[in-house]
């Protein structure tokens, strides 16, 4: 039998668009993902996905650096801009009315045929390589070595505001009441350290747009959402390479249902508003 001679080095990657969903799924079952198509679709380039994790939605890491590695997955299309999360955050963390730790941004798409609005909740990304932590002269803001939460030690804050400019997610403001910069701490002080499992915003969200949990636990909802391969998961401003821990996905209900199988989670429930 004669094998065709192929010089792999000179082949051009034709992209993965031409691979059908069925084909892709077959490979996924084997724990392989399609990384490229060569030679007119005759050759698929495959990589194993077992044992690797989408650390930041950009690269792969072998292992998450924290345990519990707190993280939030935001299913963007489920957000209805009710701002219950923002209010819950304000009440829980005593946010003054001139500040906020989280907010909802509005994005409008105007197509030829229809208009569409999408809401994007944003908050501190608890970056794994956090620019704010590097910039602070007095280590007043630091990465918690256990949970990976980026926290404040208010008494050390000199109020130079360098961290506010270093943060590429506008997650910080100066709180006159605290005499220090204030930011989201995944409700560590007010809830998590007291045994609660969810942040105030995730608990208040009526649609399940915000899901919060531990990224190192394969049973956890955020693990499942980040590690599924059907729907795209992304982070904001990946080019800044801050390795964020807030993940975004479209989150249309059917596919999420498939992903989570029997795991219970909240859909939009009209009674709760």
């Amino acid at each position: 039998m004669k094998f065709p001679k192929i010089n792999f080095d000179t082949l051009k990657n034709e992209g993965t668009k031409s691979v059908t969903a069925q084909e892709r799924r077959n490979f996924l079952k084997l724990g392989l993902t399609v990384a490229g198509v060569y030679a007119g679709g005759k050759i698929l380039s495959l990589t194993s996905v077992i044992g690797t994790a989408h650390a930041s939605g950009v690269g792969f890491v072998e292992k998450y650096p924290y345990n519990p590695h707190y993280s939030m997955v935001i299913r963007q299309t489920l957000c209805i801009d009710c701002e219950k999360c923002v209010d819950a955050c304000k009440v829980t963390n005593n946010i003054p009315d001139y500040g906020y730790r989280t907010r909802i941004l509005t994005k409008k798409y105007t197509g030829k045929l229809d208009k569409q609005v999408e809401f994007i909740p944003v908050l501190c990304n608890h970056c794994n390589s956090a620019p704010c932590v590097r910039a602070c002269p007095t280590k007043a803001t630091y990465k918690d070595p256990v949970t990976g939460i980026v926290r404040m030690e208010s008494k050390k804050c000199i109020g130079c505001k360098t961290c506010m400019l270093a943060c590429p997610y506008d997650a910080r403001y100066f709180s006159a009441e605290r005499r220090a910069v204030d930011k989201c701490d995944f409700c560590w002080e007010e809830r998590l350290s007291q045994g609660e499992k969810l942040t105030a915003c995730a608990a208040a969200c009526p649609t399940g747009a915000r899901t919060f949990g531990n990224l190192t636990d394969p049973e956890n909802i955020v693990y499942k959402l980040v590690h599924q391969l059907e729907e795209q998961v992304w982070v904001l401003r990946p080019a800044d390479d801050t390795k964020p821990n807030i993940f975004y996905m479209k989150g249309n209900m059917r596919s999420v249902d498939n992903i989570l199988n029997e795991q219970r989670f909240k859909y939009f429930d009209p009674d709760k508003i």
């Binding site: 941004l105 002269p137 050390k156 109020g159 400019l165 590429p168 997610y169 403001y173 100066f174």
Partner: protein
Amino acid sequence: MAGRMVDISKRWGFHGVDALKNASPGYKMIMGLFALLALAGAAVGLHGLLVGYHHVYGVTRQVSWGLLISAYIFCVVTSTGLCIVSSIGHVFGGEAFMPIAKRAVYMSIMFMFGGFCIIFFDIENPFRMAIWNVLSPNFVSNMWWMGTLYGAYLVFMIIEYYFLLEQNHSLSRLMGFLGLVVGIAAHSNLGAVFGMLHGRPFWYGPYLPIYFIFSAAMSGGCAILFFTTLGWKINPEIMNQRMERAVKAVTQITIFLISVIIFFTIWKIITGMVSEGKHLVIMSFLSGDYSINFWVFEIFLGMFLPLFLLIRSRGNNFNLIMWATGLMMIGIFFMRYDIVIPGQMESVYHSLGVVEEANLLTYTPSFHEIMASLFGIGVIALAYFVGEKMLNGHQLEKHEIVPEGGYICPGCGAIHFMEEGETEEDAMKRHHRIW
């Protein structure tokens, strides 16, 4: 100088408070004006401190550095520049530059001090800074390095100034050298405070640390020329052949440095126009909100007019030099402002295409911010006018004040003292030995 009593006031060219009392009424009025300005600025700044800056300052969460940081940068850039340009003479032995050293180092200290006065009203907890900068240093933070190095720089400059007054050339030279090294490190770190912020494309990159050094040298040349020619207006006696030669030399180097900065600015604009992250800001310079700042102040007042006037002055028309550099100082202030504020104009969520951040952010300095900046400027100006009188125009070689046992060094023009049984030549060698 053991065993010899010399009246310090004479040795240092120190004219005492009497010199202020004897000043003309007009001069007293100018000093009073700046003293008032400094006091009013301090009072308004303290009021802001008491009621809380967020009520009275124009800075916001997204534009968190405003006029005060711009004014601070203006001061420290000028301070570093004075140190750089004057070091050509008394550190590296460029003979022509030597006579400017005393005034330059004095003003360098005052500008640094004025900068600290201004930043005092920007940092929310300045007192915590003294404690936690020491107890909890973050060695990867540019801000920490900037603060620490500028602190060290100020100390070196003060010691250097002391030795300059003492006529101890070896030690003043050593301190001047250390001050220069630390000053340049501090200053490029200030550039890196901006240049290392990933999320701010207008600042990010090695451009700012490098630009800051050259720009400082330009400001330094400009400031030396301005303060020397203004000093000449106050007291024409300070001009002599050596000083004239020095002014000429500084004029030449300032012309060169302005050309360098023009070159920097041209490439900043051209590269910025094709960069996605900088395009909006560059366009606002060329034709938007910042076009007056940019074209009128930064380009015309800050570069082209002084370039033209300085070349025309040929380095010996002092009136022209004074006007050119005085206007240039104003232009330079806008250059600093145009680095700090526009870098924050584009919200970090602008590129996400969301409705909330579709427009560029705006910032207008508030009354409190303007006054707190004038506090620092007032202090510097007051220090200058007081210095010209009390320190007798920073002269080294005025015959009337050569005290007993001293002589005018033919090499450097300064007053040297001979030890017992020493010849003038031995004394000169001792003063000018290379460490």
